[in-house]
């Protein structure tokens, strides 16, 4: 799940080498924190949040088999 989000984020940004995704366990599930170069934040969010919302949908699909909730956050 983390690998998939990392792969997609790298493909979306200008500076893939600066992409990092951290998996943080919490009481309600796992949060994937996406870190990108400052200028790339908009690319990961997309107009009207369409890209980040698509990433969340895909992460949710990937989490089905693991049976836990997943949250995806872009860290500014």
């Amino acid at each position: 799940m983390k690998d998939l989000i990392e792969l997609l984020t790298r493909a979306l940004v200008e500076h893939p080498e600066e992409v990092e995704v951290r998996e943080v366990e919490g009481p309600e599930g796992v949060t994937l924190e996406i870190y990108v170069a400052p200028g790339d934040t908009g690319k990961v969010i997309g107009r009207g949040g369409r890209i980040i919302s698509a990433l969340r949908t895909v992460a949710k699909a990937a989490s089905v088999k693991e049976g836990r909730r997943v949250f995806v956050e872009i860290m500014a």
């Binding site: 998939l4 997609l8 493909a11 979306l12 009207g48 890209i51 949908t57 088999k65």
Partner: protein, 211 residues
């Protein structure tokens, strides 16, 4: 589908489409690469082949990450459209397609955006999996015709659930030649939906309206 009184528009979102007598079908355009200029020469075929290969590889990789057992093929390529199709073990369909196709739509947007970055031209990517699109289209057409019949006999508007631009187009097209009803879209993406309304009381005047 939900029915609402034709007169009670107070709680509805302002409609932003289907104005000035434009065809509601033409209104349902989905801009996947929003940074691309509107007017484009067709992309050279060699380059489209490469982009299609990239799109296919990416779709295949996403499918593997989802633990779905399916193989991706390139169904069609034309001037600016790439159509991909995944087929295999249908037990993975629920995960890959998602509720009302939302996972497939999300993957489609991501692939179109990623592949679109490799070219200045506008490229559109269309994904299908396990024959979902045609099944969905058929059930939408069926539903549209049934609801249109109710709308006509009850004289009340009906609203669809939120639909993607392509899905809304299916509803508009299915009802374009059906007498006594008209359609338009309303609401903001991603919650935009179609209103099916009795055409003799509709907002678009119908010169042939019967009393």
């Amino acid at each position: 589908m939900t029915l609402r009184e034709s007169s009670s528009t107070a709680d509805s979102t302002p409609k932003s489409g289907a104005t000035g007598g434009e065809s509601p079908v033409a209104d349902e355009t989905e801009v996947l690469d929003e940074t691309a200029p509107a007017e484009q020469e067709p992309i050279a075929e060699v380059q489209m082949d490469e982009l299609a290969d990239d799109a296919r590889d990416l779709f295949q990789e996403i499918i593997s990450h989802l633990d779905v057992d399916a193989a991706v093929g390139i169904k069609a390529i034309d001037d600016r459209d790439i159509h991909l199709d995944a087929d295999g073990d249908e037990t993975g369909g629920g995960i890959l397609i998602g509720r009302r196709g939302q996972t497939l739509e999300a993957i489609q947007l991501l692939i179109a955006t990623i592949v679109g970055r490799k070219t200045d031209r506008r490229v559109r990517v269309f994904l299908d999996a396990f024959g979902y699109r045609e099944r969905r289209a058929e059930s939408l057409r069926q539903m549209a015709l049934e609801v249109a019949e109710q709308v006509r006999s009850a004289g009340q508007e009906a609203l669809t659930e939120p639909l993607s631009p392509a899905e809304r187009r299916i509803i508009h097209t299915a009802l374009v030649d059906v007498e006594g009803v008209a359609t338009y879209s309303e609401g903001e993406e991603p919650n935009r939906y179609v209103v099916i309304t009795p055409s003799d009381e509709g907002e678009e005047p119908n010169p042939e309206s019967e009393a």
